[in-house]
Point group: none
Chain length 249, copies 2
Amino acid sequence: MLSNIRILLVATTHPGNIGATARAMKNMGLTDLGLVTPKIFPSDEADARAAGAEDILQNAQVFNSLDEALADRQQIIGASARLRAVTWPQLNPKQCAEKVIADSHLKTAILFGRERTGLSNEELERCHYLLHIPCNPAFSSLNVAAAVQVVAYELFQAALEKSSASPMPITDEEKANGEEMESFHEHLLETLFAIGFLHERKSSPMLIRRLRRIFNRSALEKTDIHILRGILATIQKKTSRHQTPINTP
Amino acid sequence: MLSNIRILLVATTHPGNIGATARAMKNMGLTDLGLVTPKIFPSDEADARAAGAEDILQNAQVFNSLDEALADRQQIIGASARLRAVTWPQLNPKQCAEKVIADSHLKTAILFGRERTGLSNEELERCHYLLHIPCNPAFSSLNVAAAVQVVAYELFQAALEKSSASPMPITDEEKANGEEMESFHEHLLETLFAIGFLHERKSSPMLIRRLRRIFNRSALEKTDIHILRGILATIQKKTSRHQTPINTP
């Protein structure tokens, strides 16, 4: 579902960013990296920052022009930090991911521009959509690999969601049912009366309600109930020993 | 809405990652960076990678221990790439962000571990929730600053969404902070050893972890802690009476 997506870095200056982009892509299951006129490539710094994603770098295609890189692309999306004078169809990362995954049969390119200046107007005009990552307006320039990370993350989540029309079962342990919870609460109160923490007449209903809330909020599993009742039984045994020494084993 | 969120880097090795984290935070409107025993800090490399977010580095707090860093925190979330034996309440970045923004009155810490090994089991057990970024299972180790970028991005989106909905603030009672939770857990274990439910050598760490989880999951308030410790004190008094009858009033 992700194989038709090409991440395209345009005129990247720092090779470290190319390596970090490769790592971000591989983390999120993307494999197709294109580099349009990179300043330095290949490089040791890119390999170091790839940190296990060197295969993405080795398979990266280097293009001499944007035209060449886009020749076979059916859908083109350009990342842009700026708002443009001419309104262009604009997507946030989540919308972009949902669109790209829904159109996963289309050969798509997502363009990320130069570190300092991003994509030129001419480059942006090649795009069907602009991609804007909402962020702090006072400090809006994301590192290019960080921007790829965000977009790749959303692509992976969208692919996961789409493929989980047959969903991965959450194999939680079995939650306690109402009956088990009630028996536990009874056991708890019985024990608290026995040790004298609660007193038949004096204890406020508020306090009892509060105790109930503590454990209800915890969404106890069957095993939890088993452990907690084990503790209660131990307390009962220990304290009843004191009162009826005859029962001591 | 984002001011109560502390990003906490634990034992970070590469100063470049600290700088990149600061940049990722500032891009997404986060300001509170905590560093637990960083290997190298401050450093020129961190400043270079911050690329305009040096103010976040200058205001970063350096802590000598995780305890110190969490002392005033009421909600603790730990990033984890691994799946654990005992299931712990787990959030993806979007769920995490929605929860943290909904609880924006709580002092929250989000922990990110070492570059190679992440957070230790002991550190993860301090957390109310684990945060897992779904990704390529064959290459699942995100760069730490890239992980912060994804989480910060989701936090900013959730804040944006909430501010455009402008709901009523939830006036919860005050949640227990990290220090109160730790004292409670210590008191609980002490009591369980005293009554013989736990045994110094025989009791499994799994069981102890599970007990911790039951109460962490419940998001205890200060008053809850007070009540639970009252129960523990009563149990201790009752059972010590049995062993040392001389103390009986």
